[in-house]
C-alpha cells in the first residue's frame, strides 16, 4: 500500500516562527511530526510508524491523507500528554536582588568574594562578603576556587502548596570556554586599549 501523505503547509499555523515559551498543543505536535518528514518520508525513521490520523485531519481539506498504513507505533504513542508548563518543579524561586561575584579566597569553612549588584545595574565589584562553604550545593562545590564566578540571589521561594519563604541561593556559573574568535577579539581590544594608553 502506498503511504503518501500530503500536508498543505499553508493551511497550518506553522510551529516555527514563534519563540514564546508556550509549548505547542497536541494538535500542533501532530502537525509538526507530519510536516517534519516522519510521515512524508518513511525512510527517515528507524521504524515505520503506524500513523492513522484522526478524522479531523481529513475534514475541511486541511490535510489529505491517503492509504496510510504502517506497522509499529501508533501516533498516540508518540505523543504523551505534555503539561502546559514543562517544569512542574516543586518550587519556584524569584529573586528580589541578585549579585554576581568572583571568589577571592577560599578557607576551610567559608570563602570571600567581591560582588557586583546586578539588580542595581552596577558595573564594578564594589562590595565584599564572606559566605559559608555549606551554602553551596554539592554539585557546585567542585567549582569553588579563587577566580570562580557565581551568582547570588535573594528572594522568595514559593512551594507548590503556596508556602512562601525568603531564601538565598548561590550558583556557580559554568561559562563557555573561550573560542579562538573570542581570543582574537580580546587581543584586538587589548591592542586598541594599549594604543590609546600610549597616546597613538
Amino acid at each position: 500500500m502506498s503511504t503518501a501523505v500530503s500536508i498543505r503547509d499553508d493551511e497550518f499555523p506553522a510551529v516555527v516562527g514563534d519563540t514564546r515559551g508556550i509549548p505547542p498543543t497536541r494538535g500542533e505536535l501532530i502537525r509538526s511530526i507530519a510536516r517534519n518528514g516522519l510521515v512524508n518520508d518513511p525512510s527517515s525513521t528507524p521504524r515505520a510508524l503506524a500513523v492513522s490520523f484522526p478524522s479531523v485531519f481529513h475534514k475541511n481539506n486541511v490535510a489529505v491523507a491517503t492509504d496510510v498504513e504502517r506497522v509499529g507505533l501508533g501516533w498516540q504513542e508518540l505523543l504523551p500528554e505534555f503539561p502546559q508548563y514543562m517544569s512542574r518543579q516543586e518550587n519556584s524561586f524569584a529573586a528580589l536582588q541578585e549579585w554576581e561575584g568572583y571568589v577571592v579566597e577560599v578557607g576551610n569553612d567559608d570563602f570571600t568574594a567581591r560582588l557586583r549588584d546586578v539588580t542595581a545595574g552596577s558595573v564594578y565589584e564594589d562590595e565584599e562578603a564572606d559566605f559559608p562553604v555549606d551554602d553551596i550545593s554539592e554539585s557546585d562545590r567542585e567549582l569553588l576556587r579563587p577566580g570562580a564566578i557565581f551568582r547570588w540571589a535573594i528572594g522568595y521561594e514559593r512551594t507548590r502548596g503556596g508556602t512562601k519563604r525568603r531564601i538565598s541561593q548561590i550558583v556557580f556559573r559554568r561559562l563557555p570556554q573561550w573560542t579562538a574568535k573570542d581570543l582574537e577579539v580580546s587581543l584586538l581590544e587589548a591592542r586598541a586599549l594599549a594604543a590609546f594608553l600610549r597616546g597613538e
Partner: protein, 229 residues
C-alpha cells in the same frame, strides 16, 4: 520587581533544525554540561527522533525538530543561559539556528478584585466600546467581563537586526483569577535570513550578550503593569 512574583519562569527558545535524540541527559553528562548526579536524577518524559523532553530540579528541556526550549523557575536565571550557550557554542556548533526568544513569565497578585479590575480598565478602557461597555460589566460579579488578553509590541529596536519585544497581559490562570495577573514578555531576535541559517554562532552570541539585559528589560516592562496597583 514592584510586586514579588508568586510564580514565574524564564525560557529560552531557539528555532532552527535540531536532532532531538541527541538531547538525552546522559549526553549532557558526557559533555560535562551536567554533573553525574544531575544526570542520574533527571526525569525523562520522552526521547524520540521527533521530540525529546526531560526535566530536573531546576530545569526542563524540550527539543523538537525545529524548536529547542529550555525553561527554569528558579533564580538565578543566568544559569539557564550558560547551559544553552555552552551547549551550542562548545558542542553543537553547526546546528542551524535562525531565531531566538528570551521569555520572562510572571504571575503576581494585586491583592483584591477591585484593584485587578481597575488595572484591567486602565490597560483596556471600556468606554470606546460604547453601549457594550455596560454589558461587559455584567449585572452580577460572577458574570463580570473585561479584558482577557492584551498584547503590546515594539519592533523598532536598536540592539538587533530583526525581531520584536512583545508583552502580553492576562488574568492569571494559576493564581486566584480574581486577584492574579499574568504577564509574559517575548524578547525575539532573528538573523538576516532566519529560514536559511548557517550555523548558530550569531544567535548564540546574541544570547550570550543579551540575556541579562533582556531579563532586566522584561522585568522593567512587567513593572509598568505592577506599578498600576
Amino acid at each position: 520587581m514592584h510586586i514579588p512574583s508568586e510564580i514565574g519562569d524564564v525560557s529560552i527558545v531557539l528555532l532552527g533544525n535540531f536532532n532531538p535524540r541527541i538531547f538525552h541527559p546522559s549526553w549532557f553528562v558526557r559533555s560535562g554540561l551536567f554533573t553525574e548526579k544531575e544526570g542520574e536524577v533527571a526525569q525523562i518524559d520522552v526521547i524520540h527522533p521527533t521530540i525529546s523532553q526531560f526535566r530536573m530540579e531546576w530545569l526542563a528541556v524540550r527539543v523538537e525538530q525545529n524548536r529547542f526550549t529550555a525553561e527554569t523557575q528558579e533564580a538565578p536565571f543566568v544559569r539557564l543561559a550558560d547551559l544553552v550557550v555552552r551547549t551550542f557554542k562548545e558542542f553543537l556548533i553547526h546546528t542551524p539556528i535562525g531565531m531566538l526568544g528570551i521569555n520572562r513569565n510572571v504571575h503576581f497578585s494585586v491583592g483584591d478584585e477591585a484593584t485587578r479590575n481597575r488595572i484591567g480598565k486602565m490597560l483596556a478602557p471600556h468606554e470606546p466600546w460604547g453601549e457594550w461597555a455596560k454589558q461587559i460589566e455584567g449585572s452580577v460579579p460572577e458574570k463580570r467581563g473585561g479584558v482577557r488578553s492584551l498584547s503590546m509590541e515594539q519592533r523598532d529596536l536598536d540592539d538587533r537586526k530583526k525581531g520584536h519585544l512583545l508583552i502580553k497581559v492576562e488574568p492569571s490562570a494559576k493564581l486566584d483569577p480574581q486577584i492574579g495577573i499574568f504577564a509574559a514578555v517575548n524578547d525575539h531576535y532573528e538573523i538576516d535570513d532566519p529560514n536559511n541559517p548557517v550555523g548558530c554562532g550569531e544567535i548564540i552570541e546574541t544570547l550570550e550578550k543579551q540575556f541579562d539585559k533582556s531579563i532586566q528589560r522584561s522585568e522593567w516592562l512587567i513593572d509598568r503593569v505592577m506599578v498600576l496597583k
